[in-house]
Amino acid sequence: MKAFRILINNIADGFKSVFRNFSLSLASISCITITLILVGISIILSENVNKFTDDIEKDVTIVVYIDKDATEEDKEAIKININLLPNIESIEFLSKEDIRKDMSTESDELGTILSGYDEATNPLLDEYLVKVKDTEKIGETATAIKEIEKINTVKYGEGMVEELVKIFNIIKKITIVIVVGLVIVTAFLISNTIKITINNRKRQIEIMRLVGASNSYIKLPFFFEGIILGFLGSIIPIFLTCYGYIFLYQKMEGVLFTEVITLVNPDKILFTLSLILLSIGVVVGALGSYRAVRRYLKI
């Protein structure tokens, strides 16, 4: 009961002090707000880059053309052999007949050309469509497949795919660096602004020490003040990024310029995003104030 009362007092003190030093609090809150907005935008960006990379990686396929003279047993053996390789996500068979039908519906011209052939004379080759787990190793996997007997050619978007993957990986890393950097900057700013708040209350801390308040008792209200500042500072960024993103998403109908690049559905990320922003604000506020108050406890 006693501890509870002290806790309530401390939280109340934290609130009081936020409003008593309102101009300074406002400075801290604005700092947190601005950085958290940037953090929020970076998170949304990196989520979308992630999704785009994933989508592209999912689409990357190795096309394996099978020799014309391969028997049914050979085809089965190829399938087993491919499946034995590492990094194979899935494998799908496409018969030359299916491909012929597919192609003839694609355009009239192709249709007329292909209509000159029947099942027996079909000039096309049977294919396996292979998807890989790790796109970065697609080259190795393709070479390994080429080694298997009765395979005519192996194709994937050589070079292009690898380049794209590289670029997206770089973008991913840059966004992570930006997010981490911003979080550190926020912590630093909060720590500094709370130091100023505390400096204004040196006297109060001194008197608290003199009337017998323990160090942890003195620290607690500042700790809560940091949490309150962090909390208040994260409200605007949360609303801004959430509603901003929902607005953008609806305005752009879920895609960026073309159907190829689809955006992350807001429902999927906004709850987590809000939680992340709130926790960053609160944790960073608490740590900043805790750090700042320490050196005033030597009186």
């Binding site: 009362r5 007092n9 003199l210 017998g212 308040a213 323990s214 160090n215 008792y217 009186i299």
Partner: protein, 228 residues
């Protein structure tokens, strides 16, 4: 057992100044002790040792059974809860009312609201400021502000009241008023140590007088007066 015991205490500050040199003082419970001496005599240092604003360079300082010399910064609050301190500059918080300033000292104990109110109003009444408990420090005179700080110091019924030149900023009449309150607190059983350089006060209240000069204890007299 004496409430306060100072044994062979030396204090040398970092800048080389020796403030106290082999000081021995024992103060039993209920005593009223004046610590006098000119500026730089070491009386402020002596007082500061008692509430561990300063640590002795050598020797032992016992206050209410606690060895202040060995008290770690983190544990200082244990000592401060046993004592009340009154300063020359009052050390009140300007943004708080009289009531809040006094209640501030009780907050740390997490007492129920009712008990806090009772104790605070009791202390404010003792120093005669019942009518002004809603005022802010800057609405009060110097003497009244000092009375608030006394109320804050005694609100938790400490065994010891340490006063560091409590009348240093006040005119003679007001000083006497403050002294009456402090004397009354002593009569209620609280041990009082008071640093002062007010001759009239020391000569009016015939109490024990400890005299320091250049860090050396040169006099310790029962019912003494101000000596030069």
């Amino acid at each position: 057992m004496n409430l306060i015991e100072i044994r062979n205490v030396y204090k040398q500050y970092k800048n080389g100044v020796t403030a106290l040199c082999d000081v021995n003082v024992a103060i039993p419970k209920g005593d009223f002790v004046f610590v006098i001496g000119s500026t730089a005599s070491g009386k402020s240092t002596l007082i500061k040792l008692l509430y561990r604003q300063e640590k002795p360079s050598r020797g032992e300082v016992y206050v209410g059974g606690i060895n202040v010399a060995k008290l770690r910064n983190r544990k200082v609050y244990k000592l401060r809860r046993k004592i009340g301190i009154v300063f020359q500059d009052y050390k009140l918080l300007p943004q708080m009312t009289v009531y809040e300033n006094v209640a501030f000292a009780l907050e740390i104990y997490g007492l129920p609201e009712k008990e806090v109110r009772k104790k605070v109003m009791n202390a404010i009444e003792k120093v005669g400021l019942k009518e002004k408990f809603r005022s802010y420090p800057d609405q009060l005179s110097g003497g009244e502000q000092q009375r608030v700080s006394i109320a804050r110091a005694i609100v938790n019924n400490p065994k010891i009241l340490i006063c560091d030149e409590p009348t240093g900023n006040l005119d003679p009449d007001t000083s006497m008023g403050i002294m009456e309150i402090i004397n009354k607190i002593n009569e209620d059983g609280t041990t009082i140590i008071m640093a002062t350089h007010d001759k009239d006060i020391v000569n009016t209240y015939k109490k024990r007088v400890i005299t320091l000069d250049k860090g050396i204890l040169i006099g310790d007299k029962e019912k003494g007066g101000y000596m030069k």
